[in-house]
Structure formats: C-alpha cells, structure tokens
C-alpha cells in the first residue's frame, strides 16, 4: 500500500487562511447568504451509509483534514467555533466549484456532443 501524505501548508498560507476566516467572520450575517456544507449525523446507528455522488464528500474531507491540521499548528486545542469557521471558509471557497460538472460533461463546452 502506498503511504503518502501531503507536506504541511507553508506558514504564509496558514496566515492567509486564518485571515480569510477572520474576514468571513466579520461579515454582516443578518443580511447575507452564507453557503454551508452539511453532514448527516446518524443517531440511530441504523441509517444506510451515503453512497455515490461525485466524490465531493471525499474532497471536502481531505480539505477539512488539511485545514484542521494547519489550524492546530496555531491553536492546538481546536474548539467548535474554530471548526465551524474552518468549514465556513471551505464552503465559501468551494461551494460553487465543487458543483461544476466534469469537463467532458459540461454541455456548453461540447456543443456538438450535446446536440
């Protein structure tokens, strides 16, 4: 099995992400639309696992893991608000892009195929 891991984020990038989280947190929430990624929590232990989809869940999982590790270098004891702000930043950055169809399935890019 290949065991691989990504190198840690450069310090400048951690700073930039923290600054972005701070920027997002200072918005006037009462009038704006805030994108969110939601996950289902199984309280019955009987629910069927989610399946299928476009892989966006695993991408988000990787991004969240990377972000949490980076954030822990500055705040070793992450609390609920830290995690919430991290996911807020992920949603702000990736909400639209993760919904884009794959290149070959984007009909506007392949009008002949679509027709």
């Amino acid at each position: 099995m290949i065991n691989f891991s990504l190198p840690p984020l450069p310090e400048e990038e951690v700073d930039a992400r923290l600054a972005d989280m701070e920027r997002l947190g200072n918005r006037d929430y009462k009038e704006i639309g805030v994108p969110m990624f939601l996950v289902a929590e199984d309280l019955t232990e009987g629910a069927r696992p989610r399946s299928g989809g476009d892989g966006s869940g695993r991408i988000l999982a990787l991004l969240l893991a990377e972000g949490a590790e980076a954030l822990r270098t500055r705040r070793p004891d992450l609390d609920a608000e830290d995690i919430a702000r991290l996911i807020e930043a992920l949603a702000d950055r990736h909400f639209l892009s993760l919904a884009a169809p794959s290149f070959s399935r984007a009909t506007e890019l392949h009008p002949e195929t679509a027709s």
Binding site: L38, V39, E41, L43, T44, A61, A100
Partner: protein, 237 residues
C-alpha cells in the same frame, strides 16, 4: 462533532449543500437575484421529500446536486423579497419560522426581536410588522404543498416570550398541517457550520452554549433540537 468525526462524515458521501439567509431586505434584492441565479445554474431544488429520501437511502438520485435555500426566523422580507426570486429561479425555499415571532402582536415585534437576537432592518416596514403574518405562512405552506417542487416549504418553531401571542399553538390553530415533528430518534442533520451565522450573528460559545441547529425531517427527526434558544420544539409545516 470534532474535526476527526467531521472528516469521516464528509468522506462518507456527498454533502448536503445549503445557503443560509436571515433578513433579506429589498435593498439587496439584486444581489439575491444574482446569487440564486448562479445557484440555479449549478444546483437543483431540494424538497422535503428529496431530503428525506436522501437521509433514508443514502442516495441522491437527481442529476444535479441539490441546494437547500434556508431562510431563518420568519422575517417578512423573506416573503416579500425572496419568495418571488425563488420562484423565478425554480428553487425551493425552506422557511424556518419562529412561530413565537410570527404570533407576536405587531406593536411588540421589535421588542421581541431584540430580546431574542432577531436582527431587524431599521425602519424597513413603517407599519411595524417585521415578522411573517400567519396568512403569509399559510401561503408559503400552500405553495410548498401544491407541487412539492419550486416554491416553499415552511418550518415553524415554537418560541415563547411574547406577552400577547399564542406562539406556535397559534400556528397550529391556524390550520397548518404538520409534516414533521421532533421525535426521540432518527437522523440529525448537523449544520457543519451554522454555529455562527444563526439569527444573524455570532452564536457559537454564546449564552446558553449554542450548538449547531438541527434540521428535522419525517422519519429523521432528532431529540434535543435547539437553535440558539430561539426555538426549542420545532415543527415543520
């Protein structure tokens, strides 16, 4: 959930996408119009049945990912501004209505809002009514029930604290059919991030130890639903 649990949860399948709104004043109507247009290009609407099926089966069967357009608290400007925009773009709005707010007499709504951290837009409505009326809630309900597609699903919570209102009981008395109620077990949809942003402000770590809000659905309801102390028992109409 801690970070590790959330990572595992995200890895388990496609996420549910939501865009959360609170007040939607008319001076931002063009902005909302553009945002809903961009969302409608990429996502499809999510009805109550769609989400219940997803939670029950783990599968999203529509060709495009869905987006939940959530409108919190029962603001009148949600009806006046967002409802027509949702219809224009073919998206479903989920109206999470604080029924104690809706049931509050007009003269007391500003005070009720201030007491429950319900932000209002100063002088937005000269007549002083900032919450949905029950007639508007009924209209949203009819729109949602008519075709279960674009229009609205309305969500009402029981909220106390208004001297002159019957709160959620009044909503029930208004003849609104209950489509979902809290129960003791089921799936809970934790807003991974709504620890902040609820009721228009920072709530995480605030008074009462606010947790992420909980969305309850038929057959997938949760115990202990609480959204910022505003709503305790919640009912989906």
């Amino acid at each position: 959930m801690d970070a590790e649990a959330l990572v595992r949860a995200f890895a388990g399948g496609p996420p549910i996408r939501a865009v959360n709104f609170h007040n939607t004043p008319v001076h931002r109507a063009e902005e909302y119009d553009r945002q809903l247009g961009a969302l409608a290009e990429r996502f499809g609407p999510v009805t109550e049945d769609d989400l219940a099926a997803f939670l029950a089966t783990g599968r999203w069967t529509r060709s495009r990912p869905g987006v939940v357009i959530a409108l919190y608290n029962g603001y009148r400007n949600n009806f006046d501004v967002m409802r027509p925009l949702l219809e224009r773009h073919g998206l479903v709005g989920w109206f999470f209505v604080a029924s104690g707010y809706v049931g509050c007499p007009v003269a007391e709504q500003l005070a009720f809002g201030a007491a429950h951290t319900l932000a209002t837009i100063p002088d937005e409505y000269p007549d002083g009514r900032y919450a949905l009326s029950w007639d508007e809630v009924r209209e949203l309900d009819r729109a949602g029930a008519r075709d279960r597609e674009p229009h609205a699903d309305a969500y009402a919570g029981l909220g106390g604290g208004c001297r002159g209102a019957g709160g959620g009981d009044r909503g029930l008395a208004a003849g609104l059919p209950a489509r979902a109620r809290p129960s003791g077990a089921g799936l809970r949809v934790a807003h991974g991030l709504s620890l902040r942003g609820e009721s228009g402000g920072r709530r995480a770590g605030g008074p009462g130890g606010v947790r992420g809000p909980v969305l309850e659905l038929p057959g997938a309801a949760a115990a202990g639903a609480e959204a910022g102390g505003l709503t305790r028992a919640q009912t989906l109409y």
